[in-house]
Symmetry: D2
Subunit: 161 residues, 4 copies
């Protein structure tokens, strides 16, 4: 059964992918549910931490973006996600969240994320985020685009479309 | 770009789809984030309420399933989700969550969900859930299968695979 | 051991308390943790729904308050809470959240809340909320004060301090 | 107005308090609400991480406790909290959560917690947790008691009551 293809905009992929950025996160009570494992929606919080830390590494802070003199409060919004929940995580687990920029469109960024426990991949996600101001999608500002491009792979093919 | 096709098992779809089950949910502080709109992961909580209420309507209660004399604690687990975030929802909005069973596999159920505000579709999701006990996927117990089948469309094509 | 007394401002209590406002809430997966019961912080979300619905009944909507032409975005902020967790709630439980205004100060509102399952009281909370704009506590605007006063008991002792 | 005194059991306090354990936490989208600040209930998740890390430092892991051969699944449950929300935290803030054991009762532990941003105290909390199995409060097992006692101050006055 075809689930659908989420990406409606053409997104150029760099020839070589950048190494993923990895953060360690701990599973706490807050992340679990009565089945004894991590609640499925809790992973989205972990994934967002991974994306935020990748952006921070590239010099993009959400708060600056929102308040930093840009009219209307720019912020990133998730446009689509495809998530595979492969194996459960449990209380007290230490997990890795790996995030990698797959490609940049004019108004969106495609990322690939994994949640791992050691060598085991527990979850994979493909996420498209867009930049939004005053409720509308915007072209990525040139300075943000340049920072994200540096975080992709720097190959010519990730030039602005 | 191909995002992937989540469904690894063949899932038979009924000839006619059942009418979706709809629940009303209110947006509270808890659901929003500093961008002023609903936080993307909060929708997953709303979607889960919709699925739970559909199951309840069909006579399947999570707690009974978990504790009801079945060895090892049966529970539903989300296996894959593909979500399109189309328009933002805001504080105090009253939303509808519509849930429909698309098809039944031997060990999983495919659902289609929408979040609406009046006529506007804010989000669509396709969700595959599996039944799990002792950390492993199980065939749907016959009584559960029958209840879910009644909730799909009752057409011959949704017979057990 | 003395825990402390949270209320630093004098709050006048009406001679007769208003009847509490009650809302029904269902326990979903999202509210539970791996102990099998409701996660302690989840009750705070339920309590906030109760307060929001009480305010709505009195004609105070958060979004209007925030965006409604008042300079700086007025919103309510919780200033202190004292919570007793008496008995656990479980998956699929249907709970009542009861909320009552105990008294009004010039810049804050004192509320008493209970979470019940039928006759059983599972949790009690005393909550002081203040009205905030541009990061600072503000006197309650006169129209809001009047609405809250109507929701307290309408007795002369709940006049503005 | 008297809010109440939460501690119903006598809790002995050590003569000298142990130094607090401190963990750093980052504020993410997930923690904020539409007012632009951290959602009040989100602090409870941060506080719980602080308590969990203190317990881990003392050699008490929630999962081991729950599954570790003790009949019925021992786990900690919050019995009461008194929280003062003093100043708001914001998106991207790096916060410190400080946790200190104030005293041990036969069946409960009293803790004092603070959330700080640099020198500023944003929140204080006093929390009583109990150990629970099969839905009932239990005396702290001797090995757990000894570990917690080491984490309090080791003074003679923190002996088992």
């Amino acid at each position: 059964m075809r689930l659908h293809t989420a990406a409606k905009t053409h997104i150029e992929q760099p020839a070589e992918l950048a190494a993923p950025q990895s953060i360690a996160v701990r599973v706490y009570y807050e992340d679990t549910d009565f089945s004894g494992s991590v609640y499925h929606a809790s992973y989205l919080r972990l994934l967002e931490r991974g994306r935020t830390e990748l952006l921070r590494t590239l010099g993009v802070e959400h708060r600056d973006l929102f308040a930093g003199g840009r009219k209307g409060g720019f912020h990133f919004a998730v446009r689509s996600m495809t998530i595979e929940f492969l194996k459960p995580a449990h209380m007290d687990d230490e997990l890795l969240v790996e995030t990698r920029i797959l490609g940049l469109g004019g108004a969106s960024v495609e990322m690939r994320q994994e949640v791992r426990r050691g060598e085991q991949v527990l979850l994979t996600a493909q996420v498209r985020i867009a930049i939004v101001a005053e409720g509308k999608a915007r072209r990525l500002p040139a300075d943000i685009f340049a920072k994200l491009q540096a975080g992709a792979a720097g190959s010519p093919s990730s030039n602005r479309l």
